[in-house]
Symmetry: D2
Subunit: 132 residues, 4 copies
Amino acid sequence: MPSSDGLHRHLIRVRYADTDQMGVAHHAAYVVWLEEARIAWLRNIGILYKDLEAAGTLMPVVDLRIGYRRPCRFDDELEFETRIAVPGPTRVEFHTRISLGAVLCAEAQVTVAAVDRTGRPCRIPAALAPRS
Amino acid sequence: MPSSDGLHRHLIRVRYADTDQMGVAHHAAYVVWLEEARIAWLRNIGILYKDLEAAGTLMPVVDLRIGYRRPCRFDDELEFETRIAVPGPTRVEFHTRISLGAVLCAEAQVTVAAVDRTGRPCRIPAALAPRS
Amino acid sequence: MPSSDGLHRHLIRVRYADTDQMGVAHHAAYVVWLEEARIAWLRNIGILYKDLEAAGTLMPVVDLRIGYRRPCRFDDELEFETRIAVPGPTRVEFHTRISLGAVLCAEAQVTVAAVDRTGRPCRIPAALAPRS
Amino acid sequence: MPSSDGLHRHLIRVRYADTDQMGVAHHAAYVVWLEEARIAWLRNIGILYKDLEAAGTLMPVVDLRIGYRRPCRFDDELEFETRIAVPGPTRVEFHTRISLGAVLCAEAQVTVAAVDRTGRPCRIPAALAPRS
């Protein structure tokens, strides 16, 4: 169940393969972590993304913004705090803060669009839509 | 040498490993491609990024924005058109359009910061700075 | 602590980014998972790989063999069962079975060599060496 | 066209994202490179892997062996020399040497199996089968 403030927390440990020769996590790794955190967020409210896809609703990323604040390193256990916003009937924005303890490492906004198997926009799952 | 309009073109072929089960290139692959295109852009004006790092200047990504317009697929040969903007003495923005033939697949803006090995901001290479 | 049979179990969930257009996890993903499982195996006997590196011992992979038995899919939670063998004073072999429930998905043998920062072979950590 | 000795050469440049905090290319990157080299090998004899898949023949990796000899680094341009062996009607082995100039960096053997869309073994493309 989501916490009462609608915020979900998810932990991801930085893999060795995520590092680069600067000695920190490579900036592309965050994109994969954010996807894992979104899927965990959905699971947390009872939506299995694999079931969504099996039922014919895909949710491709259409827009991605990441601000990198502080580098993180191998074996760091990062906390992903996610909230959503719903700008319309076919899109969801995931707003995520990535922290290591009290240190903010990155902030991200990822917009996904609900589409059917032919690529046409469709309604997001009812559980995500704001109550009117 | 750069073309007279300051625009550089770079080709990248979509790898099988870049695809996901939607049957298209995964959105995280673009981040790695954009890095290759930036490094090719620098090479094109005579800057080897490995030499920059060896000389003590790193250029980590501090901000990343990608708008995904059309999916691309395995074996597609994508064209990366890059221009830069220089918002200040320690940062460079790379503006890139990713196309497949006449179709725009994605637009991206990646900001990198010049830092020394201790992480302190430093001046970007002179070849990137606007002429006063 | 390791279980009494010297076997360590570790769980990894298949990420969406791990899939390819065959609809299964891409074969390269296993290599990254195996690394995570090795590092978890070491943590389980009290060795933090990051501390090893900080103390000057690196453990690069020198040989890798994977037999892929059954495909696995997005969101599958895979079990990694690892045992080690020690063929000599400077190398460790990690033998891992990757399963999904009762189904064996892959078997792997990864050999790592202990080296110092200059790349010269050095002794593996005492905790890994067989008792004489 | 293949060279007269049946050997095909393919170049891949090491990406920054391929590196890890040891300052060398991560061992998992080789797996993705080997896939690109196989697909280039096939293209070189007139087989587009995407056409194979579109026609219903998939070629998943069933066995992978890599011996890592010397590390390679960011921006290195590696040469992949590939030969094939055909152990039976439904499998192909790709034997690849990865070199940087005169230095052998790695040797690999990757076995792929031809399967139809249901996963059943099928004959490899005629162009790969040994002439009887």
